[in-house]
């Protein structure tokens, strides 16, 4: 994972083409949500050891935001999806 990310639009690309934002969970709360939900969204992190979904931006490529589904201990990658698809799937769940 740390050397190459396979962008669903561009193929395998080196790390330097990307910037990383952080955890892809949870979703941005609704404007009406409680303060606690907003606090948790902005500041609290699950930070699991193991499987983890993370936002990566293919800044020097297609400029799409991606979600890299990976293991943060072994650095194995399970899949890379366009963030819009991820958000849509999360919405359905």
């Amino acid at each position: 994972m740390a050397s190459l990310i396979t962008c669903p639009h561009c193929g395998a690309r080196p790390k330097e083409e990307f910037s990383v934002r952080g955890a892809a969970m949870p979703a941005r709360p609704s404007p009406m949500a409680k303060d606690e939900a907003w606090h948790a969204y902005v500041y609290i992190r699950d930070n699991p050891k193991g499987r983890y979904q993370e936002y990566w931006h293919h800044a020097a490529g297609c400029r799409r935001w991606l979600v890299v589904d990976r293991d943060n201990l072994t650095h194995d990658v399970f899949g890379v999806t366009d963030a819009a698809d991820f958000v849509q799937a999360r919405g359905i769940e």
Partner: protein, 985 residues
Amino acid sequence: MTSYRLASGGAANRGRSLTFTFDGRTYKGFEGDTLASALLANDQMLMARSFKYHRPRGVVTAGSAEPNALMTIGAGARSEPNARATVVELYDRLVAVSQNRWPSLKHDFGALNNVLSPFLGAGFYYKTFMWPALFWEKLYEPLIRRAAGLGKAVMQADPDRYEKSWTHCDLLVIGAGPAGLTAALAAGRAGARVILADEGFRLGGSMLSESAMVGGMPACDFATTTVEELATLPNVTLMPRTTVFGWYDDMVFGAVERVQKHVATPSPDLPMERLWRIVAKRAILAAGAEERPLVFGGNDRPGVMTAGAIRTYLNRYGVAVGGKVAVFTNGGSGYRTAADLVARGVDVTAIIDARPGSADPVPQGIRVIRGGSVTDTRGWHRIDGLIAERSGFEEVIACDALAMSGGWSPVVHLMCQRGAKPVWSDEKQAFMAPDLGGAFVAAGSAAGFDGLSDCLKDGAAKAHTVLESLGRRALPLALPRVEGEYDASFAPLWYVPGAKNKAFVDFQNDVHVGDLGLAQREGFRHIEHTKRYTTAGMATDQGKLGNINTVGIVAGMRGVSPAEIGTTTFRPFYTPVSFGALAGSARAEHAAPVRTSPLAGWARKNGAAFVEAGPWHRSAWFPREGEKTWRESVDREVLNVRANAGLCDVSTLGKIEIFGAGAAEFLDRIYCNGFLKLPVGKARYGLMLREDGIVFDDGTTSRLSENHYVMTTTTAYAAEVLSHMEFAAQTFWPELDVRFVSVTDQWAQMSLAGPKARIILGRVVQDDISDAAFPFLAAKEVTLRGGLRARLFRISFSGELAYELAVPAGFGEAVADAIMDAGHEDGICAYGVEALNVLRVEKGHVTHSELEGRTTADDVGLGRMMAMQKPDFIGKRLSTRFGLTAADRLQLVGLKPVEADKEIRAGAHLLKDQAKPSLANDQGFVSSACFSPTLGHFIALAMLKSGRERFGEKIIVWDGLRGTEVPAEVCPPVFVDPENTKLHL
């Protein structure tokens, strides 16, 4: 003569003689020599001093694991410290100098440490040098520092070039010995994209050093023939002189190629070294095995070498390391060395075999002491004898070299760099490569095979397996017949009891068996603790030679299996890599790309001084004849803008084109102020917050048509803002139809500011730009005289009547020239970012000096911009937290010095009048300060506790760093034209 060049034999090119120097003396060697082989050929066995005790040391290996023979190679800016003589390829006029000795290699004062060694055991420095406290830094530490270290870095800029390259393959084969060659051949013939990399300058690995016959020819010739065939295959890339130093995620390997390290006069068109990132679908590690030294008393004496190294010097380089060689072994390697020596006419005085018996063939007439051991050696700069012991009887055996063989360790380093641990094998008495699931496998002796024929076979077999997993089929390889191979098996012997002298496990760091025992006694029992406490394995060879003995010895002391002790962690780099190779071409002025403004040429013509602004070079001021300081130029520019007009390059601002039916809604949520009602043809200042309610960036956005906007961002945050918007569009509000593209590079943008701006601009623009037709905040496409389409925005950072004109970048210079011509009669000047900064401070406009990642909109007086009635915008919810709205927050104010001639500088802090400087009394800080030529004194913007309630208060601007305290009056932050009359002229 103790070591010497044989009359014939070896692979060095005897037809080409090379001259080199070592410590100032001139020697001769041959092309194809290493520095070590050439020194040995000249009977120079003493090559170095050890790190701690400064003991005399010779070469102990013939490869990259060498712990002793480190030298400084080359002169001046090209000198390289800590080069291993065993891998330095000899070239003509090479200059080598020994290290870590004074005054000379032969006579080194540091050897006093050797006498003091009982007091300098492992970790002694943790227990002393504590009293008196001051003495550590003033006395002890400087002494220790001077004594420590190895070679000298010259600290001059490197005259040579470096570069980096990516490459991709189906199969990377690491190591071009028997297994590597057959693996590459099998895969290459099958049509796979193969890279064969080897750290040596000649491909062939151990076959270059062995006396066996392969396929009816000497092993060395067989290797050469195979390499020649590989070279004809277009899908095979041979990479000699290339060390694969690291295995990283996703089957990316780091490798360094020494392109010109062996060249007397480097070509300027080639790099000195080249860094490769190799992306391999599969990889085979065929790095061979490392021969273990034996741990016995006096095992570090110059002339004590591994048995394999002695064979390499003999067979590959035609060098006898001694005239009378003794052998101490626990396996077949020692016997093979004896046989090879005898075959070349070198005396072998005895073979001491630690085992009671073995089937290894003994060369005729050579005495074997079975079940014996070596307990000590004699000699100082070179071994001159050893003490052999058997069944309690000792004898002195004269020798001038000693071959030792403690068995073999597969070289599995690379396969353990990503977390997998090597696996102990009782059968092999060695740590073996971990099972990594097939993408990366070991072959040959790296996989634990002993014999040459097995290694040849295993290489081909592994290639077949690997190719199959890639869906390729390889034809079976006809393997050559091997004659005269030897049995490399051995019985374990971690250390030799009864040592009468220090028995070293880590030669370079001078760690001996006693140190390991001390570490155990003191509780440093975990192998990582043992390592860190004794420094075993922390030298430049990273324990390639000694770590296995350390593990074995510690296991013995603890009465457990080496499996239970385990190894320390294998980490990059396999062998040390130069900073230069890893940095590549990104250095000096090329450390990072430069962004050039389309108006750079215009600025240069007008005499600009440039300044780095992130990636950009920006025009800072435009000195004119007679102006002695930058301030004179800037003052003139500012006054001229306020009185007449000035032209400034603002092309570096981020420019983002925004399209879509959802764009208005999107902007309304991205900015904290309202954007839904922005009319077509108008620009609006906008403030973006982070989700935590802190200001992120500011800029203007103009609506060019119903669903088409153009946004400007600050120069510094252009990339971040675009990423942020892309993120929001994609993940927050995917339902909004909005698209972005950066057009920063498309437009040359210039700000024309000053009371005469309209008159001047009117001479360049065809359209009606009267105040009525083009009022403040108008934003429209216009046509320039000459027909060029451009974008014009009536916005102002300076507080003057001002326009920003954007034209296609290629025309920027022409248009800027035209404006300067058009404005000549009205006194136009070029002005730079320094004057721009003064103008904005005078006007109280904030930049990232104020918006520094901790300020809210309200802090900088823009709180009323936040349209809290909007259902949602980024930063809305968290902006109302208690701490972000507290009354004692720092707020933007202006400052005027009470005495007009006093200077206020940014970075100063604020104190109440009469208050003493302390954290408790700290009232805030000066964020921006400048001399205001308009007002004739310094002015500043500052962040002051509850600042807006304190206008009129006298405070102290405290700059302890620069030793000034300036009384100042707190005032509103707008110094010039607070009523904004000039904007609407």
